[in-house]
Amino acid sequence: MTAAPARADSAVELPTAVTRRSSLDLVLRARELGIVLALAALVAVTAISNPRFLSGQSIRDILLGTAILAVLAVGQAVVVITRNIDLSVGSVLGLSAFTVGTLLRDNPGLPVVVALLIGAAVGGACGAVNGVLVRYGNVPALVVTLGTLYVVRGITYFWAGGQQINADELPAGFLDFGNATFLGIPYLVLIALLVLVITGVVLRNYRLGRELYAMGSSPQAARLAGISVGRRTIGAFGVSGALAGLAGVLFAARFGTIDAAAGTGYELNVVAAVVVGGVAVFGGSGSVWGAALGALLLTTIGSSLAVLEINQFWQQAIVGGLILLAIGADRLVAARVAASLKKRGSHVS
């Protein structure tokens, strides 16, 4: 059999393939675009009805709030990409904030960098526990981290009792760090950006990052490809925990008052930000950029509703609606992509 002619057209085919690819890319980028547009519309509407919304202070508030939520969301995205979930982040944030607050109260000389590292270490330890339980316990992450959510919160309550650490007990240097800016940008935002960029680059451009996507995309295939799925799982939870711990320190620096309830309920905001940001809950796709954009959108919605003097209740309803919208959009895009991929069967064209 001489078969060469059948595929002689492959060279001619390439240019069309390239243009079709870019249109597919556009569909996949649609999420980020959608969020940016939604943000622009939201800001425009709010600013028109109340120009105060664009004042320096209000923008600062939004950015600081976003910084904390985004750090958490980046960690959550790493875990969700591996087809897991970490519900304990709010509690870990609380524990880390209280630990660092106590240490700073007792040792006012502690440098900020050390405080950040200690927070991350506390969180990292909690995350590693999550990872080990998920890996060896053979229990779904949802259940494990729901458990540690309560356990970690319980530990914090037990330790703190009713006491609260107030701003006047914390060293001024630390509180300054929460407010100070560098070239006009708050330190908190800079830290969040740093975390975002590093994680984003690792996930996109390093083997390690791609292996996390591979695991989420098909755990079975990942095992067959020789990826040490167990180690990576523990690592992903470790990162999420460490970032939650870091966020705890940022939280302490921003608000100055810390009690055992710090960060209660944050996990839901974080998961919402990640889902709205286009990280698929079944793993394998999405990016930390999307997650961070999701955090920005959610925080902005909170502020603008306050500015517009709309009832808090509506905020929750709107966030809920957004999540449903995001999931609906995911389905739609997935169906579109599937159809376009089917049409592009390699041999038929």
């Binding site: 059999m1 001489t2 078969a3 060469a4 002619p5 059948a6 595929r7 057209d9 492959s10 085919e13 393939a17 690819r21 597919l24 680059v201 451009n205 390093y206 083997r207 791609r210 292996e211 996507y213 591979a214 989420g216 995309s217 098909s218 079975q220 295939a221 990942a222 095992r223 067959l224 490809a225 020789g226 990826i227 040490s228 698929a280 394998g284 796709s285 992509v337 599937a338 159809a339 991929l341 089917k342 049409k343 592009r344 069967g345 390699s346 041999h347 038929v348 064209s349």
Partner: protein, 501 residues
């Protein structure tokens, strides 16, 4: 030239899963520069051996020796490091990642600061595809690839590993003649560069075309290892099944009845365009063509799993609602899909649940599924197809590849359809059962069922079909009746004018 000393020795390995002894004391040697075939019936233990070579399963007993040194392969990473590349029977791709990334996973070319060099990665994939003579776009996600393309990506993945031992578990099951030829050309060049190949297939012409040596297994045991030139195909079959086999294509003559399935102007641009044909009661009509000519897409659109742009499908005079498998099933259409993992089976469910899935409603009494009914009909059909399993309650995922295919068949045959559409019905099925499947299809046709069959195996098409429809690039290009359908005429139509056969 084969090496003097074996590269890899498999020495008396055994592996059991619970009560099932999948492999018992099997030994054979692999030489560099030689292709070694592994043949045996469905469930004989071939894939289990493959998985031991791949580090997925650890042998319960026995050893593997690489260059005369015993090695332990505890994880797939160990096997990779030892220079063993494996193509698994079921494609194991990452649907969300690009094809190029799928191929390069774990070995991505690195650039500055150890970052992945995407351009090089895509180039590498393109080169591999050129070598294999296929045009899959490296930057598209693996999701949505046809089963044949998935197989080709798997092959490219194994090639890229530069391995000393390349193990291929039924790599050709989803491919047609042309792709198989290309794969063999590449495999031969690997072999000539000194790699040891393990090749598994249920098609003996492939074994004799590619391999120098053949190991035959039966029921988990080693039967013989010989030079291919020294055993005849009949002898291989005899050793494999342990008995004489009857004629391979027992086609019953049937006088076709009324038109049952009629397809008019079916179009889904650009996959297939203006496809029209009819199938009568009692007739077996084959859709032939190269991989990717649109055959599977046409039958999926008839059944309604895929949408269509235009055209009508009529079953026994009633027009089917488009894109509704439910309506198709209600009208008496059954589709045995080509991709059993994604469309045919629920891997986590038991065998009996899988077999009875499409009929749950009919089997239920007062809305409850009753175990005994379910079990009885599952038992009947799996036995007719000689399915090898431990208990009917076992997960389908633990069956051997060929036995999974039998469960898919059983599931649809049990619905007593008016129109039976089968896509690659005997993919991965051993010779003995293949004859049984053919006999079943033939007797169903004799009972008045209209059968539409997509098959890449020419002997099967020529042996079974009353009429052969040939597709090329999404169009029906020829209709050949039984007398005029020959290997030449079908291939000629499938490949177009340029090709010579």
């Amino acid at each position: 030239m084969p090496t003097e000393a074996p590269v890899l020795r498999v020495r008396a390995v055994s592996k059991s899963f619970g009560a099932v002894a999948a492999v018992q004391g099997v030994s054979f040697d692999l030489y560099g520069g030689e292709a070694h075939a592994l043949v045996g019936e469905n469930g004989a233990g071939k894939s289990t051996i493959v998985k031991m070579l791949a580090g997925v399963h650890r042998p319960d007993a026995g050893t593997l020796e690489l260059d005369g040194v015993p090695i332990e392969l505890n994880t797939p990473a160990d096997a990779k490091a030892a220079g063993i590349a494996v193509i698994y029977q079921e494609p194991t791709l990452f649907p969300d990642l690009s094809v190029a990334e799928n191929i390069a996973m774990g070995r991505q070319p690195l650039g500055r600061f150890k970052t992945i060099d995407r351009t090089a990665m895509i180039e590498q994939a393109e080169q591999l595809f050129t070598r294999l003579g296929v045009s899959i776009e490296p930057s598209r996600p693996a999701r949505g690839l046809s089963i044949a393309d998935q197989q080709l990506v798997e092959i490219a993945k194994a090639l890229s590993a530069d391995a000393r031992v390349v193990v291929m578990d039924e790599p050709t099951a989803a491919l047609t003649g042309v792709e198989v030829e290309r794969l063999f050309a590449v495999a031969r060049s690997l072999r000539d560069h000194g790699a040891a190949l393990v090749f598994i297939s249920h098609r003996f012409e492939e074994v004799t075309a590619l391999c120098e040596r053949v190991t035959i297994m039966r029921d988990g045991r080693h039967v013989s290892t010989d030079l291919v030139s020294e055993v005849s195909v009949d002898e291989m079959v005899r050793r494999m099944v342990g008995r004489e086999l009857g004629a391979l294509f027992p086609k019953q003559e049937v006088t076709p009845g009324a038109v049952v399935l009629s397809v008019a102007g079916l179009t889904r641009d650009p996959v297939f365009v203006d496809v029209s044909f009819e199938v009568r009661a009692g007739e077996i009509v084959a859709l032939a063509g190269l991989v990717g000519s649109g055959r599977s897409e046409v039958v999926q659109s008839i059944f309604g799993v895929d949408p269509r742009d235009a055209g009508t499908v009529t079953v026994a005079g009633k027009t089917l609602k488009p894109a509704s498998p439910r309506a198709a099933m209600a009208a008496g259409v059954a589709l045995v899909p080509e991709d059993r993992r994604q469309q045919g089976l629920v891997m986590e469910l038991s065998i009996e649940r899988n077999v009875t899935l499409p009929r749950s409603r009919a089997l239920s009494q007062l809305g409850f599924l009753t175990g005994s009914n379910e079990r009885r009909s599952a038992k009947e059909w799996t036995q007719r197809l000689k399915t090898k399993y431990g208990r009917l309650q076992d997960e389908v995922g633990t069956l051997s590849g060929g036995n999974q295919q039998k469960v898919v068949l059983a599931k649809w045959l049990a619905t007593a359809p008016k129109v039976l559409i089968v896509d690659e019905p005997t993919r991965g099925i051993d010779v003995g059962t293949k004859a049984e499947v053919h006999r079943l299809m033939s007797s169903l046709a004799a009972e008045g069922v209209a059968v539409l069959m997509v098959s890449s195996e020419l002997p099967e098409v020529l042996g079974m079909a009353d009429r052969v429809l040939v597709m090329r690039e999404g169009r029906l290009v020829a209709e050949l009746d039984r007398e005029r359908a020959t290997e030449e005429s079908v291939m000629f139509a499938a490949m177009g004018q340029e090709a010579t056969v």
